[in-house]
Amino acid sequence: MDREEGEDWEPLRARPAWADVVPIPQDDGPRPVVPIAYTDQFREVMDYFRAILAKDERSSRALELTAEVIALNSANYTVWHFRRLVLEALRSNLEEELDFIESVAENNFKNYQIWHHRRWVAQKLGVGAVSGELEFTEIVLLDDAKNYHAWSHRQWVLQELGGWEGELDFCSRLLEKDVYNNSAWNQRYFVVTKSPLIGGLQAMREHEVHYCVDAIKAAPMNESPWRYLRGLFKGDQDALAHNPLVVAACIEEIRKDASCVQALSLLVDLLGAGFRPTPSDTELLHQPVSSPAALASNVCTHLENVDAMRARYWAWRRSLLPSTTPVS
């Protein structure tokens, strides 16, 4: 029941249903700063809302009024909070509330209040809301595949209410459309580590390493899979440094492109984690080296050149490597 701004809006003071209410003006003070030149409609709707709030009137006309306020300023968290109180008092149909949220959200997909309200409703509806919420977030993500609130909501739904079955596939589909979508990679990690239907990170690791390496081959400069690859071995650096697939992928990308920043960066980390390069590996940089530490140092120096924006970082990393001067 949106009453849009415009000629067809009927002032509240003219509506018989509101004749008993005395509107309360905003207590801005005599000479407020950051004053907003509200339209008459905005001012009046807010004046009537303040009156309803002061009375704590949890009626159906109050519910309608909250919708009017929301239409004018969907970020007014006080109004959303009050709306929730009214919905509870009226024991309103919460399925319909989902429709209401959808209509408000059309132009407002980056609004905390809308998503928080959606979460509140979904929580009350419980497990029955799962497919609707997954569908809703999917629609939002179709339009904006990286919408932070949508992804947070989706994660909350999965953890609180379930629906994990199709989630890994969902991530794969999104990555097929855009392999650079870091939100989808993040979601993938979430599923692999948290889904009760999957064996957990250890069980999935080999499969995911393959998935990553394929993505890397398709777009070697894409930072997402490189970070995901490291993430698969979080807390287990030794396994990372000795995983043949990981090492091979890293070396291969450097062979193809000696200035592949992501691969070089991983190489520094692999060396730090205990990777011992073979002689042919160390020829990569066309320099004779005598130790993993020396190789790491050379790679850092190389990165100062090919990843110039991060030169100071690579110099700092180099400064922390073990010295390569032999003890006497």
Binding site: S74, N76, H81, S152, N186, D269, P292, R310, L320, P322
Partner: protein, 478 residues
């Protein structure tokens, strides 16, 4: 300033770089958007690079102070009806504008101060905290904004108007047992809540133990596999939340709970190789506001180098084992050179090592004594370049990126990022940066801000002293 951008070439998609051609003909959304932004930015940076002489380049790099001041002052006095969507964020508007003016070294008339104090008092809830406007429920974010605005104004009248006792009660009501905070009564919970509450509690000197329980554990659970911090456990690493998480832990002296090397590695890669500005998340576009959220992380890290270095060296443990027969001490003299080229003298690493008591993180922030700083780990010059060349709007104000309009939020955070970047090459906290640390004419130099709370330094010290001389606040239990 723009690098040789191997990133740009690869991101443009298609051949080169040795990658195999896939069956799919079109580039992805991410690639298209990134390419488009790089084109705009390269035009602006290119105009600078090809400028005829030093006079022209200096002109192009000028901060348009007068225009920005006009824009800010105008907004403080009057906002059009399109600002109705910010009707629940008016303390933010106060803070964004007052803080920006303060960084531009503007002074406020007593009339403006009185009107501001009066207005913000009407936003203060009788049970504690500040709402988005008079009569609105108190909210942690608008509380943070209101307190910072009052601190920025300074003076006893402004500071005394804050009800510290009720504030603590409000915070304790919002606090959740697992360490998070609701943003308002029955509101959403995320890492912003921790930062806004702890930042204000720090300034007001109401950091009681009950307020701080489990916060480190909660924030730690929000650090992702990428190294940055997300809004909630499981959420994607994001610049805004990373700043909030790290600043909160710095305020509590608990940065040890984070994997700092991982965090640093994530945040250095958020600086665009072509743009010089920062993106909020991996593979997203740079945005001027992240000059502060991401850039600010580096300012914090500069003050916690001992902890960071200790953790980073721990990463190299296996490498030490592999280097048997070679010296196992790190060669810190390399880093001295790095810090040295942008500072007046070299960083005295040896003196740092000799310090018998390792300075706690929060002491580093609180002290007004000269402190030694390590050079920044990011490219401060490139960030300043992005802000000055791509984020300024001719009519006044600063913006997200080229083709966007200016707004007060971006003005505040672009300038905050700019001042931190200018300061990052200083090696003493209270000394002005050397000329070569300031991009453009030296007159671009802004007032320094405190990287933990983002208010101008002078006012931060004034407020912190004021509240530590106030009577202690009784804890609210139950």
């Amino acid at each position: 300033m723009a690098s040789s951008s191997s990133a740009a070439g690869a991101v443009a998609g298609g051949g080169g770089g040795g990658g195999e051609q896939r069956g799919t003909p079109s580039t992805s959304v991410s690639e298209r958007m990134q390419k488009s932004l790089e084109d705009s930015v390269e035009t602006l940076l290119g105009a600078f690079a090809s400028a005829a002489n030093q006079h022209t380049t200096s002109l192009l790099l000028e901060l348009w102070r007068d225009e920005h001041v006009k824009y800010l002052k105008k907004g403080y006095q009057h906002l059009s009806s399109t600002y109705s969507v910010l009707d629940s964020s008016r303390p933010w508007l106060c803070y964004w504008i007052l803080h920006s003016l303060a960084m531009l070294n503007q002074h406020y008339s007593s009339a403006v101060c009185n009107r501001s104090i009066d207005f913000l008092s009407r936003c203060q809830d009788k049970h504690g905290g500040y709402g988005g406007g008079p009569g609105q429920m108190p909210h942690l974010a608008t509380t943070y904004a209101a307190v910072n605005a009052l601190v920025t104004m300074g003076g006893e009248k402004a500071l005394v108007s804050i009800d510290r006792e009720k504030m603590l009660q409000f915070f304790l009501r919002m606090k959740q047992p697992f360490g998070g905070f609701r943003m308002h009564d029955e509101g959403e919970i995320d890492v912003r809540g921790c930062y806004t509450a702890v930042s204000v509690a720090h300034i007001l000197d109401i950091m009681v133990p009950e307020l701080l329980e489990n916060i480190p554990e909660y924030i730690c659970s929000c650090q992702t596999y990428e190294g940055g911090i997300g809004g909630e456990p499981g959420a994607e690493a994001h610049g805004g939340y990373t700043y909030c998480g790290l600043a909160t832990l710095a305020l509590m002296n608990r940065v040890d709970v984070l994997d700092l090397p991982s965090l640093v590695n994530w945040v250095v890669f958020r600086q665009g190789a072509v743009e010089g500005g920062f993106q909020g998340r991996t593979n997203k576009l740079v945005d001027g506001c992240y000059s502060f959220w991401q850039g600010g992380v580096f300012s914090l890290l500069q003050r916690m180098m001992p902890e960071l270095i200790s953790q980073q060296e721990g990463w190299n443990g296996p490498l030490l084992a592999a280097s048997q027969g070679f010296s196992s001490t790190s060669d810190a003299s390399n880093f001295e050179e790095v810090a040295g080229d942008e500072t007046e003298g070299s960083v005295d690493v040896e003196k740092e090592k000799r310090t018998s008591q390792r300075p706690t993180v929060i002491n580093q922030f609180m002290s007004t004594d000269d402190q030694l700083l390590y050079g920044p780990l990011f490219n401060a010059q490139a960030l300043q370049g992005y802000i000055l060349l791509c984020c300024q709007v001719l009519e006044g104000g600063l913006r997200d990126k080229p083709k966007k309009s200016a707004d007060y939020y971006h003005t505040c955070y672009c300038l905050s990022g700019l001042t931190l970047a200018q300061d990052s090459a200083s090696h003493r906290i209270n000394a002005p940066p050397p000329p070569r640390a300031v991009l453009g004419p030296y007159s671009n130099l802004l007032e320094p801000v405190h990287p933990l709370c983002n208010v101008v330094l002078r006012r931060y010290y004034e407020a912190v002293r004021f509240f530590r001389h106030s009577p202690p606040v009784a804890s609210y239990l139950g």
